[in-house]
Amino acid sequence: MNAMAGNYVTADGRQIGGVVMEMKNITLRFGGVVAIKDISFDIHEGEIRAIIGPNGAGKSSMLNVISGFYHPQEGEVWFRGSKRPPMKPYEVAQQGVARTFQNIALFEGMSVLDNVMTGRLTHMKSGLFSQAVWKGKAEAEEIENRRKVEEIIDFLEIQNIRKTPVGRLPYGLKKRVELARALAAEPKLLLLDEPMAGMNVEEKEDMSRFILDVNDEFGTTIALIEHDMGVVMDLSDRVVVMDYGKKIGDGTPDEVRNNQEVIDAYLGVAHD
């Protein structure tokens, strides 16, 4: 199957739309170290796209390129039909790309509710003066956004901790709150950097369910990095495999599973 050019229908019958984001010949270097070497792939609307690879393959660097944190020396990033000029991370966020982090990056001093509300900052436009007055425009905006946030809090089943300071939460819940914060932005593209790292089987199952539900309910396009192969193969529609900064495989889970280069990268090959 090679339907990369346009729309396609997944194995479970979901209709996948056109290209949302396309990476064209991305090369990223840190001094003499080449983190990403000439990689191209695309992400279609509504699909769950996984990026996998052994440690140090450049997966997180790729996510950082997408979210504007790193600027590649060569190559182009196309987002929703136009070439993206070099942007600051907050500008990328304003375009509708949200993400979570490998190591949780929540705002520890704030409550769960406030953390999730920060996810909506890109939607809140009232200025300093109307905020200072509060009554009227600022309050109306706050309440409207609070309603959206409460929907997400309900969706992710974290109602009971909404007023708890984030610092007091256990790891699994923190991961979920971080997902909530990213979802609150109503992103066009959601990037998840190892959403299941350090979780037990039960937590992984919960998180997998949430990711599938998010994709199903909101139609959110998701790109995720994950090490748990079982999870990746079950969740994702298409998989990019990276190794030492190069792309060694791209396709459906089944195609990738049977790709000799991928098997070699994971299991090692005899050098003789």
């Binding site: 907050y90 990056a105 809140m124 300093l128 600022a138 914060r181």
Partner: protein
Amino acid sequence: MFYREAGDFSTTYAEDSQTFPIKFDRYRYYLVLVVAFGIIPFLINDYWANAVFVPFLIYAIAAIGLNILTGYCGQVSLGTGAFMAVGAYACYKLMTGFPDIPIAIHILISGGITAAVVTLFGLPSLRIKGFYLAVATLAAQFFLVWLFNKVPWFYNYSASGQISAPERSMFGIIFTGPNTEAWAKYLICLVFVTFAAIVARNLTRGSVGRSWMAIRDMDIAAEIIGVNPLKAKLTAFAVSGFFVGIAGALFFSVYLGAAEVGESFGIDKSFLVLFMIIIGGLGSIFGSFAGAAFMVLLPVFLKNVFVGWLGWPTDLAAHLQFIVSGGLIVVFLIMEPHGLAQLWRLAKEKLRIWPFPH
């Protein structure tokens, strides 16, 4: 036992996000306002105004200002004293240049001018963080004090190099100058402190405040979720400068009456306000008040104890006062690093379930 949220249901998001969600708290707040506006002005005399209330209220405004910058946005500033001086000198130039405009307007404009100056000195914060930023603001402290000493235009070429507040009145009431009544001094400070607290609270509970706190807690993550760090940091500097400038203008025009920049707005002022917010509680409006009260009242209290009750000589009392208040600050920081505001929160937690243990 009155301090309960049981039976106190929020049915709208507006109710849920109000400043005092618990009924008892709300009524206590109204009571404080009634006492502050309706009763104290009739009882106050010169001693209570000059020794306690006026400095407390003015430092509370300065502490709110610094707390927005340091407590909410995480940017350390050691230039508060000099920024207060900007407010004071702006107010002096405005008072002498435009005598017909009401003093309250001058004070607000002084706040605006200070906001602009502080924003300018906040620009390095985009590149440097933490201790290095503190040192950059320290440079602002020394530079501004030097500037106000060096350029005679700022003190209207007066021979002493001092600035002194001329008499100005609003609605037939004198608010500045030597003939000001105690209650008038108190009232003008009270109005500004109320204004500052309400504005600060409104800003910190909305999207602006969240972007500040996001920058404080994790600036990289804040940027990734869409906070423009330039805008967030500079608005924090501007709002902080506005309040600190108002505090400086009041400190000079209402409290001191006459000021010399090195003496009244030196580095010790910067540290005093910083101590206030650390002891009061970083990132808390209530903490700003508590810290200001602690730092203003403690010396007065100790002096009364040593000289008034024990009858010790004043010089001994003055030295002991430094030792005791310094020691108390150290003890306090070890016992409760999150400040008086945290103690207050814990007390409220306990009160909620009192008299039951759980």
